[in-house]
């Protein structure tokens, strides 16, 4: 069987991705509608509101329409980029999400960068020193980082660096006194970014170590050494590029998860990102925002998976892009 050309491959992935997203959206609606209580009740206040009033709100919000109608209408709208209107926030969902996007990207991006940089570095060192004390120490660190609950780690960091040492702020993104310049944001970013990066870093250390250990026993590594290449050059120029593929797969796999996966970290550090928005929307029964966030999260996962496939092909000369 002849392998697909790249364009056909990409098109196929895109189409199946879109079908998947439509299914996820439908499932989200079923879940949200099946739950007791709805937006109308939250809006009307405490239980025991006038039934006629509730019915009026439901008609306004089209909550009285049959579920398939609601789903179809939502899919049609969101395909055009319109995610609906949040009655609770009093503004379009797109604005509610857009207002948090920057903070989320900043946090997730920093955490990602830290995890990739530290994870690959430690993984390469561990593979180079395989079986030694340094390797064992790195293994213990990554196992711990993989097992610590992020919200507890966040608490400990706050207790140490904010409460005791007063080095860093305990939460938020800017100082209340309005001095919110670049340095101020970085100051606030440090603790949540480190906390969020640890789990991913632990995974990357393990994957890098395994892949590098496999690469280091290959013939081309011996050949490079025989030619007299220095050890750093052997590690970084020869072995690492071949070990990067599984690392890229793990990284892109987490790309889709990290935005909303930050719910816990953003809650501990009161970071005004999408995770925090998601948590608030869940509590407030803000269905349109919630549906929008779930759709966004699913879109990111699907996009990240396609990206992973593309990079996987790009990094392997045998399936190189044509």
């Amino acid at each position: 069987m002849r392998p697909d050309s790249f364009a056909v491959f990409l098109l196929r992935r895109l189409v199946s991705g879109i079908v998947l997203l439509a299914m996820v959206t439908a499932a989200t609606f079923v879940l949200i509608t099946a739950a007791p209580g709805d937006t109308a009740q939250v809006l009307a206040g405490q239980a025991g509101a006038d039934p006629a009033y509730l019915a009026l709100i439901r008609r306004r919000l089209q909550l009285d329409r049959p579920l398939p109608y609601q789903i179809a209408a939502y899919l049609r709208q969101s395909a055009q980029g319109d995610l609906g209107f949040s009655v609770i926030q009093g503004r379009p969902v797109r604005d509610a999400i857009g207002g948090r996007l920057l903070a989320s990207l900043l946090l997730a991006g920093t955490a990602f960068f830290l995890a990739a940089l530290l994870g690959v570095t430690l993984g390469v060192i561990a593979a180079h020193r395989r079986g030694g004390v340094v390797d064992a120490a790195i293994s213990v660190i990554s196992l711990l980082a993989y097992s610590l609950p992020v919200f507890w780690l966040g608490q400990l960091l706050i207790a140490l660096f904010a409460v005791r040492l007063h080095w860093l702020p305990a939460g938020g993104m800017r100082s209340a006194d309005g001095s919110g310049g670049f340095g101020d944001v970085v100051h606030h970013l440090a603790l949540p970014a480190v906390t969020l990066s640890l789990l991913l870093m632990a995974l990357i250390v393990r994957v890098t170590r395994t892949a590098m250990s496999e690469a280091l026993v290959e013939d081309y590594v011996s050949a490079a050494r025989a030619k007299g290449a220095s050890e750093p050059r052997v590690l970084i120029r020869h072995a690492l590029p071949n070990a990067l593929r599984p690392v890229v797969t793990v990284l892109t796999g987490y790309l889709g998860l990290i935005l909303t996966g930050a719910v816990l970290v953003e809650t501990v550090f009161v970071w005004p990102g999408l995770g925090r928005l998601l948590y608030d929307s869940v509590l407030a029964r803000d269905t349109p925002v919630l549906a929008g966030l779930l759709l966004l999260s699913a879109t990111l996962v699907v996009a990240a998976n396609i990206l992973a496939d593309v990079l996987y092909r790009a990094l392997d000369p045998r399936t190189a892009l044509r």
Binding site: L20, V24, L156, I158, R206, V250
Partner: protein
Amino acid sequence: MVGGLFLLAMIGATVFAALAAGDPFQPSETILRSPSRLHPLGTDELGRDILSRILSGAATTLKIAIVPPAVAAAVGTLVGLLAGYYGGLLDEVLLKLMEFTLVVPRFLIALVAAAFFGGHLWLVGLVLAATFWPSTARLVRAETISLREREFVAASRSLGASDGWILSRHLLLLVAPVVAVNSSFQAGQAALIEAGLAFLGVGDRNVVSWGAMLADAQSYLQVGWWTSVFPGIALASMVLALNLLGDGLADTWNVRGREAARG
């Protein structure tokens, strides 16, 4: 195997707690006391004994760490064996389902479900089991596909063995290590997810949860470090034990570990 020993100790402590320890819900006048002989791990903001609460919370964590992965292991193994062995429609459906459950993060599904339907422990368990089994099934399916063409299967068949015999006597035993390793990591994840939900305040309020203890502690970090440190150590060591168990099993049976089992 350190992990396994630790787990046994935890289970022992839980049983002991059920028999002997004080009431984890009993408030008292002595609020936010640092560790003392009467309260070895101190008391919380309502004067409840933290040690009793940690021991009681262990039962919650153990339930959620054991039951959903076990259910997922049973269902996932069955479906994975059948899909891998027979292929066809079941296989197609399984793959689609896999894709579907991987698209929305498990924690988000659990969060929405817990917030909307009330975070009863059984509901959280149900969501976890429902989202764990497809990944178990995928692993078992892959193993089964690589095993079904082996010679011993052909040999067994030529001796007159039925499909049922081959599946239950041969393939089941051979996929068991992969499932066990995967389940250990899922157990660690389950413990973290339950604690995370409780931390966010959408967990089960009728049982003691380490996550909820940590959420309460958030407001008292400055005056009572013990309210956060001890429940955190309990949770972290439980998850660590489960991950160590997974790593140990993976080494013993030469199974690809966490990277493969993730998801």
